[in-house]
Amino acid sequence: MSHLLVWIVLLPLAGFLFNGLAGDRLGARAVSLVGCGLPIGSFTLTVAGAIALAAAGGEPRVETAFTWATVGDHSFEVAFYLDRLSVVMALVVTGVGSLIHVYSTGYMRDDPGYARYFAYLNLFLFFMLVLVLGRSLLVLFVGWEGVGLASYLLIGFWFQDPEKARAGKKAFITNRVGDAGFLLGMFVLFQAAGTLEMDRVNAVFSTGAPAGFSASLIGVLLFVGATGKSAQIPLHVWLPDAMAGPTPVSALIHAATMVTAGVYMVARLSGIYGQAPEASAVIAAVGVLTALFAATVALTQNDIKKVLAYSTISQLGLMFLALGVGAYGVAVFHLYTHAFFKACLFLGAGSVIHALGGEQDIRRMGGLARRVPTTFATFAVAAAAIAGIPPLAGFFSKDEILWFALASRSGGALWLWALAALTAFLTAFYMARLLWLTFLAPSRVDAETARHVHESPRSMTGVLIALAALSAVGGFVGVPHLLEPLLPLPEVRPGLDALETPLVLLSVLLAVGGVGAAAYVLAAGEDPAEVFRRRFPGLHRLVAGKYFVDEAYERWVTRPLYWVSDRVFLRFSDRRVLDGSLHALAALAERSAARLSRAQTGNLQLYAFLVLAGIAAGLLWSLRHV
């Protein structure tokens, strides 16, 4: 098939069109068939593509769909590109995506918006594949924006609840803040490299940045975009709120695929980042700080989905850490294992929520291990995987990240390793707490709900089992080594080779220690979060309040804006507005808008005065320079 990649991308789009236009009329059966069938078709084609790629010895496959725009001497083509990196990503997206589509047929069965849901989900898959397979950064950007749109539609899927609709908007706007940086990075990159096709960009940068351009500037600008999409500090605020969407959506978009787009983009452009040590240092620092920050917050959360959301932010931070120290293949490896176990965890959480009739607070769960055994077993496997218990998938990828954080010659450092190790310990700890309080602790479910607890239908449990299996054995695929011809691993700092084996043992110890420490507290019948609150009330307030980032944005962004007339402040605070949450933006905007509307009095004399004042000011300003 000569248009393999085009078909991979187009199948989900066909699903979107079908379900969006005709789904409501044709009934749930047709919707499920088309909505799941086409993604599975896409997956099958991707597998075919992977086999062809392997047969071709990893020679990239390029398909030009059509020439989109010619500006000056440069033409932007919509071309798709399948190489070692994008094939891994495409397999994850279509594979996990298909599984989650199947799961959704059970989870969303009784929802009145069934067809609309599948239409959006297919739409998401289409844009995600555009993002992954696009050869040019511009095509990637179209996908990038598109997944944002689909995510916005899905977070706000139950829009009758204004809180949820607002969460959708917050996600969208925070993301667009990052996109501003992304777009600028793209402009500068285009000036520098003369092309946006990523393989050519990497080739241009392979011999250093073009004269007069700083690779680090480009790198940081693009990374700003990644912080938005992949929920890194300081643009992480949207992801926890995004849990308002249906749980399979959280699993697919906000854990397995979309949020990893930033990681993928950086790995895709490794040519630039290889020449940008400053940008890489920034990425590593932001990554490790985000990882630690989110892991501490996850300790104190009581909403099952919020715990998982912060855990996602934390794991994404680890991936960025790996990118920052030049271990691109390792980051993609963790991306790949994370997709399995985090999707499994989210879907398991969905199954629990489903069983409990909508309950999400882990303080009102417990004792579910026997009632929903399949869910429990799969959840436990995935939790052990993320905690880093060998030989499950998470162990391999996380261990390699820790190793390169310390040993990489391009930016590895002791402090990076120490913070990452602490994160790994905390991860094991909070996952153990989550598992215990949900499934093993004495039941705190009220009697009425308890009577209705039931295991989920087979469409859901089957998917859970599949994902749990992948979480268990997925680590044995040596993704970094498959990617090595494309993304070579960084050299190891001299003298550290001997440490490799002891460090592996240490990471096992960290994982087991985390679980053990949690078990020690939990076995005494106490919630570690409670203990923490009792012992260190001040610190707990800070952590449980998510370090008051939302509040800080609200306060620090709004106040300086009274000084709008000051130009420096204008520029400064605008940055901050953009960094800020939607609330702050809205409050500020409302206030300025009110002020501006007051100028619109309807009084003609005032209007004329403004006009004359404008002309006079223009004249004065210009004549100053003559």
Partner: protein, 469 residues
Amino acid sequence: MSAETVLTALLPEVLLLAGLLLLIGLEIAVPRHRGAFAVSLLAVAAAAAAAAWLSAGGSSAAPFPGHYSVGPDTFAAKAVVLALAVPVLLLARGEFPGGPFYPLLVSSLLGVCLVVSADSFLTLFLGVELMSIPVYVLVVLAFQREESAEAALKYLVLSGTASATFLLGVSLLYGGSGSLALSAFSTALGSRDVLATAGVVLVLSAFFLKAAVVPFHTWAPDAYEAASVPVTAYMAAVVKAGVLFAVLRLFALAPAERPLVDLLALLPLASMVWGNLAAMRQDGLRRLIAYSSIAHAGYLFYAFLGDGPGRFQAVTFYLLAYGLMNVLVLAALPPAGDDVARDRLERLKGLFQRQPYAAWMIAVAMLSLAGIPPFPGFVAKFLVFKNVVAAGYPVYAVLGLVGSYLGLYFYLRVIQYLFMAPPPPAEEASAAEGEGAPSRLALAATVLCLLPAILIALFPGWVIDRLGG
């Protein structure tokens, strides 16, 4: 120069004029005739086709040397403007069964064509006035409300101020150069002379006012709101295009230089911020479009920071994308019992459940206006900002992007109303009752906007190539 070449060069204008005379003749000869719509539609469509054909043929001529010339670029610009007027006419059918609307619209279009081809200040002035004066009357034609007359008067007075400012600026430029050719403006751009600079600033201020750039924008919200829907569409899409083409003619290929750069950056920047912020508070769709158009005037003038050849492409493409989307919103707006009710944003709540097609159309237009890929508005903004960066003003590009993100809030609010808000409560059901499906002509108008929009979204390269430069 033979009469034939002259007539060919003037073909779009001649067709418009013939239509105009026919309209007036009909009005005189046949009482209560119903042919005005058909005649004007025919004339405008024929003129648009002629312009497109001539542009593709690459013909150029100067039928009135020194005052009026045509080339592929000008024909392309005329084709864009006239093509935008076609869906506007389709919208008008329901609102204006006959009467002065049609002759006024056609003569205003004639003015736009004149502007696009002007080579001297005299022609330019004539064109701008011929374009604007009918619009004052068009605003007043929505006579259901008293505000219409008031808004039209404001528009008239402020526009008159602009004309006076323009003439004063031109007289200064003429004094300096001794020439009425438009090139006097572009040569004055690089000048350090007091008179020349003052002349340039005055002329530019006049066009800032006509295009509604802060702080000269004050007439726009009132006028857009007071006018009836097709007139609002006409002002937003066609008149704005005419003004920008006038500025394009003025600048020709000359680069913007200091101190003008600051003026060309700061006021448009203020427009983006002001327009986008003020739009958040609006609860009427037309006022919202007015503020959005103020912001878009900012982006459009930003293009002049860029270099010459890219400028024409960027501005023309932008005008096309932006005009199509504005007309699309207004065409998809479901009709209602009365004009004020039709305008209320609240009424869009839950429109998706009632009229999915209309909701999708409005959503597409909003996303495009917000500049989100892959909608055409994104390509348009991309071209503008790319030129700004390429011309060496990255700081202004950053500030502009920041300004443009402020606009997201209200575009998304509309989408939220369409898809994510429950339909209006029961007591408003009466208001919703008057809501009918869009007329067949309005549907045709949406298609006429949507198809080219899809085309330019899929093949912007093809369009940009056609725009020469």
